[in-house]
């Protein structure tokens, strides 16, 4: 077995985590869900194997005390920040029904061109003629004018809204993790100097 220093172990852990994260990201984008099932346990095995070969003392009672205190303070801070952030973000969900509903339909004309009808309905209403605010018909979707293109892009954006929401959730989780690490790091440095 090859023994390694603690710093080498940290580099190995970081590189493995980056590799696993990249593999998961790529496989999700490609629609291959088998890779994460293999990559995550494999990454954990690599990290644990590296940890067992560290010749230095990784953690002792002082380190444990610093970590536990930092974790507790981080939890206290994040609970407060998380409560505020969740209320602010949830208010957007409440206001979401205020946005108008946009629906579109593509149909083929007799001359072979494709037309598109875009309808905008009242917020929170059913798809019916009495709730219709505005309607636009693009005669030929391959030859749009400026106004038609704007309507079309708005419609397209509406279609990708679900993907955007997932992306925002992902970014929120990622941001929360970064915030957690930063706050923990700050408290760790503080208690490391104290003890």
């Amino acid at each position: 077995m090859i023994s390694m220093k603690y710093f080498t172990y940290l580099i190995c852990t970081f590189m493995t985590a980056c590799l696993v994260a990249a593999l998961i990201g790529w496989s999700m984008a490609a629609g291959n869900f088998l890779i994460p099932i293999i990559a995550i346990p494999l990454g954990l095995i690599v990290i644990l194997a590296c940890r067992q070969n560290v010749k230095e003392v990784i953690g002792d009672e002082r380190v444990n005390k610093i970590r536990s205190r930092s974790a507790l303070r981080t939890l206290e801070v994040l609970v407060i920040l998380g409560a505020i952030a969740s209320v602010i973000l949830y208010s957007y969900v409440v206001s979401d029904p205020l946005a108008p509903m946009i629906k579109g339909r593509v149909f083929t004309n007799d001359d072979g061109t494709s037309s598109m009808m875009i309808n905008m309905y009242r917020p929170g209403s059913m798809e019916s003629p009495e709730n219709l605010i505005r309607s636009t018909t693009i005669k030929n979707i391959n030859a749009m004018n400026e106004s038609e293109a704007m309507d079309y892009s708005q419609f397209r954006r509406e279609g990708f809204l679900e993907n955007e929401r997932k992306g925002i959730v992902g970014m929120t989780i990622g941001g929360s993790l970064v915030a957690l690490l930063v706050i923990f790091g700050v408290f760790y440095l503080y208690y490391d100097r104290k003890y």
Partner: protein, 73 residues
């Protein structure tokens, strides 16, 4: 809590690194204990005392005035 680890270590010509390795802690922990910044557990205290071949009272001295109930915080 005062301690005589630095003196005992110097008497035995032992480095902080060596002491840390022998008692199974990091060097930073030994540094912190020597500077009276960190108060070790009873288990570690006994391990250190046993390593030097002295009683725990010969290594650590409890000071009533300094270590109040809120001293840990």
């Amino acid at each position: 809590m005062k301690n005589r680890i630095r003196v005992l270590r110097a008497e035995r010509e032992m480095t902080q690194e060596q002491l840390a390795e022998l008692v199974g802690v990091t060097r930073n922990t030994i540094i912190s204990i020597e500077k009276d910044k960190y108060c070790p557990s009873l288990k570690l205290g006994y391990r250190i005392a046993r390593l030097f071949g002295v009683g725990i009272d010969d290594v650590f001295t409890y000071e009533e005035d300094k270590d109040g109930p809120s001293a840990e915080e």
